[in-house]
Structure formats: structure tokens, C-alpha cells
């Protein structure tokens, strides 16, 4: 826990007239778990997209580990140690779960070995170990397009973890996961990340999850950070409760996916 691992300064990005980022300043400290909450369309995913190189901010800069990464390609940013998972799981649908994870493992080593199998013992063991920790061993041989939403979500996160990042950005890791399993899954995930000393930023709609696992919470509102601090403090702020949590609870009947 020393200093900012990621530092965003004055990020701005507009789509047409919509300001998805309207002056974002944020430091993510090494080792912390930072939750991002806020209503739909507040620009939470946009922040992740800018940090991972998928979108380029109109203005402002992002520094990682003291180095400017604004405008770099997703590929280059991954190589520096920033991985992400997706709101809509991005799996290789015609591959098995095990192959999906193994591909992520392989990409860490460079994939340019044309004659040795992907599922060579070392990659397979690592993939199996990860699947085991995520509780996905039973479906290792299932094709990704045959999974239910919760399993897809987990496999998607497992792929990001397989890249062994220092910073992991997760876009709604628990959406689509059945309520009864949610806490167990998040606990597992947190343990995996703590073991690996990964710094994590995650967009989350479940305030119980935020309260229990986040070190700090950032409240997004119309492309800006409206509040930032420890969960107990931020979540009890009446303004935040009214503006964000109220909307959240109201606008989120169980089982509905966030856009």
C-alpha cells in the first residue's frame, strides 16, 4: 500500500452531446479494492474503457505506475499489467472453458509456438488450478457458448486473472450471478485477488458487496466523481443515498441486466 498505482487526471470524453467523462480525477492506490458505483449512463464503463485503451479520452491523462498510458492500445496496456473483465462476458464461444483460460495463460507467455499444443501440461495445470479456485472445475470441458450467465461471468474474470495483472478492472463482476451464490463467489474472487496481491477496481451495483469488500468507494454521476471515500462514510451520506443508491434500488429489479 504505497502511493497511486493508477492516476487519472482531468479525463474528458463526449459522445455527441453526452459527456461520459467530464473531468475525472482519481488515484487508485496499490493494493486497494476500489468500488465504482453510480446510476446507469454515469460513465463507469467508459472509465474502464479509457483506462484499458479501448476508448481514447478527448482530454486528460492516465498514468500507470508513474508512466503515461493515455492513447496506448489495449494490447500494449495489457502487457504493462492492467487486465479487465467485461460487463458482457467476452469468451471464445467455440472453445471449452479450459481452453479459454489456457489461451489467456498462453498469451502471457507469447503465443507464437505453432507446433506445441495449447493444452500442454504446464498451461493445462495452470488453467485447471485457476478453474479450481473459481469453482469452475466441473464445467472445464463445456463449450463457452453453453454456459449460464453466472458461469460466463466467472470464466470471463478468470481469464483476466490468468493474465496475472497488477491492476484488474472488473465491470459488474456480480451481475447475472444468482443472488444465493453471490457472496460466496465474491469471497472466492477476493481471496484469489488478495493472494495474488492484485489491485482491483470494480463497478458494482450491489451495496452489500460494496460495503463488505471495498476499501474505498467512488460515486459516479454524469461523468464526474460525486463522492469518494470509505464505504461506511460514503454510503451513509444522505445525498449519495438519494441520488445514487435510491436510483439503484429503484431501477434494479432482480435479474435485470444493467446497460
Amino acid at each position: 500500500m504505497s502511493g497511486a498505482l493508477l492516476r487519472a487526471t482531468g479525463l474528458r470524453l463526449a459522445f455527441g452531446g453526452v459527456k461520459a467523462a467530464d473531468g475525472i480525477d482519481l488515484d487508485v492506490m496499490a493494493g486497494e479494492f476500489l468500488a465504482i458505483i453510480g446510476p446507469n449512463g454515469a460513465g463507469k464503463t467508459t472509465f474502464i474503457n479509457m483506462t484499458t485503451g479501448y476508448l481514447k479520452p478527448n482530454a486528460g491523462s492516465i498514468a500507470y505506475d508513474g508512466r503515461t498510458i493515455t492513447g496506448m492500445s489495449p494490447r500494449a496496456i495489457v502487457k504493462l499489467g492492467i487486465a479487465r473483465s467485461f460487463q458482457l462476458p467476452q469468451l471464445f464461444l467455440e472453445h471449452t472453458v479450459e481452453q479459454n483460460i489456457a489461451l489467456a495463460v498462453a498469451s502471457r507467455h507469447g503465443i507464437w509456438s505453432p507446433l506445441v499444443p495449447l493444452l500442454r501440461p504446464s498451461y493445462r495445470d495452470e488453467a485447471r488450478d485457476l478453474l479450481d479456485r473459481f469453482g469452475l472445475s466441473a464445467i472445464a470441458d463445456a463449450r463457452a457458448d453453453a454456459l449460464n450467465e453466472g458461469a460466463r461471468k466467472l470464466a470471463d474474470i478468470a481469464m483476466a486473472v490468468a493474465l496475472k495483472p497488477r491492476l484488474l478492472l472488473m465491470d459488474e463482476p456480480t451481475s447475472g450471478v444468482a443472488a444465493s451464490e453471490k457472496m460466496t463467489i465474491v469471497e472466492t474472487l477476493v481471496n484469489v485477488l488478495r493472494d495474488a496481491k492484485v489491485t482491483a477496481v470494480f463497478v458494482e451495483h450491489d451495496m452489500d458487496v460494496v460495503e463488505r469488500f471495498a476499501d474505498r468507494v467512488a460515486v459516479w454521476s454524469q461523468g464526474r466523481i460525486a463522492a469518494l471515500g470509505p464505504p461506511a462514510e460514503v454510503l451513509s451520506d444522505p445525498a449519495v443515498q438519494r441520488e445514487v443508491i435510491g436510483i439503484e434500488r429503484h431501477a434494479t429489479p432482480p435479474g435485470v441486466r444493467h446497460a
Binding site: 467485461f86 460487463q87 458482457l88
Partner: protein, 311 residues
Amino acid sequence: MAEWFQDNGLLLGLALLDGLSSAGLIFLVAVGLNLVFGVLRIVNVAHGSLYAIGAYSAASIGIFLASRGLPGWASIPALVLSAALVGAVLGPLIERFLLRRIYAQEEVVQLLVTFALFMILEDVQKLVWGVQPIHHDQAMKLLGTIDIPFGADFIPFTNYQLFVLPGFAVVTLVGLAWFLRRTLTGRVIVAVTTDREAATAMGIDAQRIFLLTFTFGAMLAALGGALSSPTAALVPGVGAQTIVLSFAVVATAGLGQIEGAALTSLMMGLGRSIAVYFEPELEVVVPYIIMVLVLLVRPQGLFGVIETRRV
């Protein structure tokens, strides 16, 4: 430069006129292909066969009617009616019995189904019309030629190629633009082209639109063929040549774009005929060079829209 014009001006004039008339034909065929692709998301390899069958049918019908004493003025309407007939018969048949089975399939399967259809129709042409050249130019003779003043000289050019071919193209372009923007069916077609899922989710009867669009596209291909038939003798293989050129137009124009198809057809028609007069070896290559250059600068085609994927 001035000297070059002194020597080659006449040739250049002729090339431009030729280019204009062939651009008209290219547009008619390519815009049909582009429309069908936009709506059905299938590249119809057999589109060129519809062009060829349109041409052969028009020639046959023209020869038959002429032998029955059809007055000359009716030869141009006869061309159009032949094309409408070919499109109206083959279009629904192909859409209903072949394409409808494969809308959910992979792209390669769709391509190959129309490729198989192309192979079949190629031989159908040979069986029906034989391999000897067929030519019927009543419509072109009817309208005679015009001497176009060009500097001190005159270029003789057929009225048919100067007015009828580009004329049909312009009427089609304007009519199509009006239809797509101003009529309900047209707007539905545009909606399906831009966002198919949203359009069908809104309750649009996709099957009807697909049938309609394909039949209309088939008519346009056949019309291109029918109108071309008076200008040159028909031989086997004309469909195969036409379709590759139309592919190039569609990719260059941007998928589903009709104005793009018009501009591209003009570029390719002119480019090709200039090549014919000055560098004949390059004639066939020119359209592809244009295509490659355009796609280098604009990977989505001249008028194409970049689709961004949400993650």
C-alpha cells in the same frame, strides 16, 4: 499538355462518353446487389447470372416480337418488361426456396449457396440459349446516332448509349432515393439495413421485406442485363464478369449505400473506358485498383459507416 489534347482529345471524349454509358449499366446491377446485401446480409454471387438471364431473355423476346411485326418504338419498353418478368419469376423462387433456408447460417455457407446457384444458372443459360453469340440491337438502331461537337471535330455516338443507359441509371437512383426515404416500405428497408435486430424487435415483418428486396434486386440485375443486350453480342460468361465488377462496386461504395454505389459506378465506368482507349491491358484491373485505393483510405468503403462494438 495542350499538345496531348490536340492528339488525344477526341479519344478522351469518346472514352468519357463510353464511360458514362457503362457506368449507368454498372450502377443498375451493383445497386441491386448492394440493396440485397444491405437487407439480407447475403452477397448474392448469382446476381451476375440474373443479369445474364435478363440480357438473354430480353434479346430472345425482342427477336420474337420483331418477327411478329412489333413496331420499333416498342422495343425499349419490351426490354424493360423482359427484365421485370425475369426478376418477378426468378426473384421470389430463389428467395423463397433457397435463401430463406440459410438466413441463420454462417457467411461462408450463404456465399456458397449462391455460388452453387451461380454454377447451376450458368449451365441453364448454355442449355437454353446455346453457346453461339446472340445479338438483337433493334432498340439501339431505332434511336440512331448523334454527332457530338468536340472542339473542331464531331464524335458520332449512339443515342441509346448516350441517353437511355445513363438515363435509366439516374431515374433508378432518384427513384430509389425517394422510395427509401419517403415511403413506409422504403423506410422499413433502411431500418432493417441499419439495425436488423432492432427493426425485427419492433415487429417488422422481415420475411416480407426480404422477399420484396430480393425480388427488386433481381429485377435491377435483369434490367441491367436487358439494357445492355442491344449494345453487344451475348456470350456465355457475361454473368461471371458482371458479378466480380459489382462486388468491387459494393465493397468500394460501402455496404448498403446507394449514393456510394452511384459514385463508385461512375468512377469505375470512367476509369475502365479511359483504360480501354489508352492502356487496354489495364481495363480489367482499373476497378480493383480503385477499390484497393479507396479501402486503404476508408476501410469501411466510401459511404460506409463504422460499426463500433460495445464491450
